[in-house]
């Protein structure tokens, strides 16, 4: 058995760009079941089974080791599990799907320009307002890690699954941690990224699951695939 499973994003521009990476390397991906099928095939390397999954599922399954290799956002690997980055190995950064995970505060907080200011505000907040400072985000793990790094403990996360940038105006939270590529959505909502508020500069990455069952046969297939793509070697 030497077959390995490659997972690619199942929709949008990142799907097109991911497929293009393989095509450029001389490994076109066909979809025998039609464009809506969730299975693909790589004629040049039949030992590679291609599956189309959502980017967040790819991150989760890579961490669990139920798929062998995949293309997903680096932010999702950090977010899916606290120890996620240690469970996988990034073998090639793909240069698309760029987005930064950032800490942004209302522009009217003219006294807050750095994380250090935020730590002062957080320390005072409860005594002044009778509640913790609230941070809206869908990136719970990333936020906890970044805030802990800056010694900030006095806050609560409000989980937000969409339109996070609206949370300060709606009163759901005081500030946000969000993903942004140009910063224009944040700006349009009166939010400003802190000068040291970039938590992660993310892009799409070709990633290997360390926890997959890497026996010799599979490693040989993987080695050939990585060679053709010009990616780093594994292990």
């Amino acid at each position: 058995m030497s077959a390995i499973t490659l997972a690619l994003p199942s929709k949008g521009r990142i799907q097109e760009e991911a497929i293009a990476v393989f095509e450029t390397a001389g490994l076109p991906i066909g979809r025998p079941g039609g464009a809506r099928s969730y299975l693909g095939e790589m004629a040049a390397m039949p030992d590679v089974t291609v599956r189309f999954l959502s980017a967040s599922e790819i991150a989760r399954e890579l961490i669990r080791g139920t798929i062998d290799i995949g293309v997903t956002g680096e932010d999702l690997i950090h977010e899916t599990a606290e120890s996620g980055p240690a469970q996988v190995e990034i073998v090639k950064r793909l240069g698309f799907g760029r987005a930064d995970a950032v800490v942004a505060v209302p522009d009217s907080w003219i006294d807050v320009t750095h994380m250090a200011d935020l730590s002062d505000v957080a320390a005072d907040f409860r005594a002044r307002h009778g509640r913790w400072l609230r941070v809206a985000t869908k990136f719970v793990n990333l936020t906890r890690r970044h805030f802990a790094c800056h010694g900030i403990a006095e806050y609560r996360i409000v989980e937000s699954l969409g339109a996070t940038e609206a949370a300060p105006a709606s009163g759901a939270a005081d500030l946000v941690v969000d993903i942004t590529s140009t910063g224009s959505t944040l700006k349009a909502n009166g939010l400003r990224v802190l000068e040291d508020g970039v938590m992660l500069k993310s892009e799409s990455v070709l990633t290997i699951a360390r926890n997959a069952d890497w026996h010799t046969g599979k490693l040989a297939t993987l080695d050939r695939l990585l060679g053709v793509l010009g990616a780093s070697k594994f292990p």
Partner: protein
């Protein structure tokens, strides 16, 4: 002795006469933990949700459920509670479920005697598990708060510094910043506070923010000016140096106490009253636990309901076997009408067992 007989002996130690054995539910609401400890503990809890959206956690400790139940039941004081059972925390160095035992004493009239009773319990447990030459580390929250009070600085900085106690990196970063403040951002420099607040208010209204729900214009303007003032060396260098020197003190009892006394003498602050209590507590730990005691000025849990002293006992393996201390502010934080003196300790059963059979 087998692990089972040791555990039975531990259970007997915990349910000694006069101690109420507490058995709080395993599945409890997490609100009190979030309320007291913020998001940092949130990352360590095991959380789940009911079908109706209610949040639950697997109890991460016994102290809080015991204190909450004590208040809810309007139980009589003084009270002594014991416990033994599983607690649940996400951690990198071991399984998320592990056993803890412990003793919590609430509102005992004599704080010295209460601490001695907790120490005697800790001693009996370490003896049971044949812990040889225990190393004891003690920190003193009262002493730090006294030092901080004696430092010459604007009051606004004291709670912020207090909030960093127990987190050496965050404390160092804050002291560095107080020493070398950043220039304030471009903005309405040179304006009086009311005008700045007015400017902020306009900006908030433009962006659709509530003027009262979150930080207010006045609050922002005030801190903006405070940040500008900091640049003009608002916190004296000698106050920062005093805090740094104090937090660096760590060593055996006599050396450490002498270092604190020298520092007080050199800076002209009076610590004698608090320091006498520190010395007494250190002696209680040394005599009660028959081990080496280290005083570490910067050692503290990062939770503001702890008061007085905090201590931990490590064995040959280096891991913490017993941790305890005083937490007089906890019950009031949970809704009691006044501060209730409290002291207790938790013992880590699996680690103690490892001391016997490494």
């Amino acid at each position: 002795m087998t692990p089972a007989t040791r555990r039975a002996s531990l259970a007997a130690l915990i349910s000694s006469p006069g101690v109420t054995l507490a058995a709080p539910p395993i599945l409890i609401p997490p609100a009190a933990y979030f309320d007291l400890a913020g998001e940092e503990l949130g990352a360590r809890m095991i959380l789940t949700q009911g079908t109706n959206g209610d949040e639950f956690c697997l109890r991460p400790d016994f102290t809080l459920p015991i204190a909450i139940e004590h208040i809810a039941a309007g139980a009589e004081t003084p009270a002594a509670y014991g416990y033994l059972g599983p607690v649940f925390r996400q951690r990198a160095d071991g399984p998320a479920q592990f056993d803890q035992g412990g003793l919590e004493l609430l509102a005992l009239p004599d704080a010295d005697a209460a601490l001695d009773r907790v120490i005697a319990f800790a001693r009996a447990v370490t003896n049971l598990y044949s812990v040889v030459g225990p190393n004891i580390r003690m920190g003193d929250i009262d002493l730090f708060e006294t030092v901080l009070d004696a430092c010459d600085m604007p009051d606004v900085w004291r709670p912020r510094i207090r909030a960093r106690f127990g987190h050496p990196q965050a404390m160092a970063a804050l002291l560095d910043r107080l020493e070398n403040p950043k220039s304030p951002s471009a903005g309405p420099a040179g304006l009086p506070q009311t005008d700045i607040a007015e400017w902020v208010r306009e900006l908030m209204l433009t962006n659709g923010l509530s003027l009262t729900e979150s930080r207010t214009p006045e609050e922002i303007a005030q801190r903006y000016l405070e940040k500008q003032a900091l640049e003009a060396a608002h916190v004296p260098a000698r106050a920062i140096a005093l805090l740094r020197d104090y937090l660096a003190i760590s060593g055996p009892i006599e050396t450490a106490l002498a270092a604190v006394e020298n520092l007080a003498a050199a800076t002209g602050i009076d610590l004698s009253k608090t320091l006498a209590v520190t010395a007494r507590r250190l002696a209680q730990l040394r005599d009660g636990l028959a081990g080496e005691v280290l005083f570490d000025a910067g050692f503290s849990p990062r939770l503001d309901y702890y008061t007085g002293i905090t201590f931990e006992v490590t064995g040959a393996g280096g891991s913490v076997l017993v941790s305890g201390g005083q937490y007089d502010r906890l019950l009031r934080r949970l809704g009691a009408p006044e501060d209730i003196p409290a002291v207790g300790c938790a013992v880590w059963v699996d680690r103690l067992e490892n001391e016997v059979n490494p």
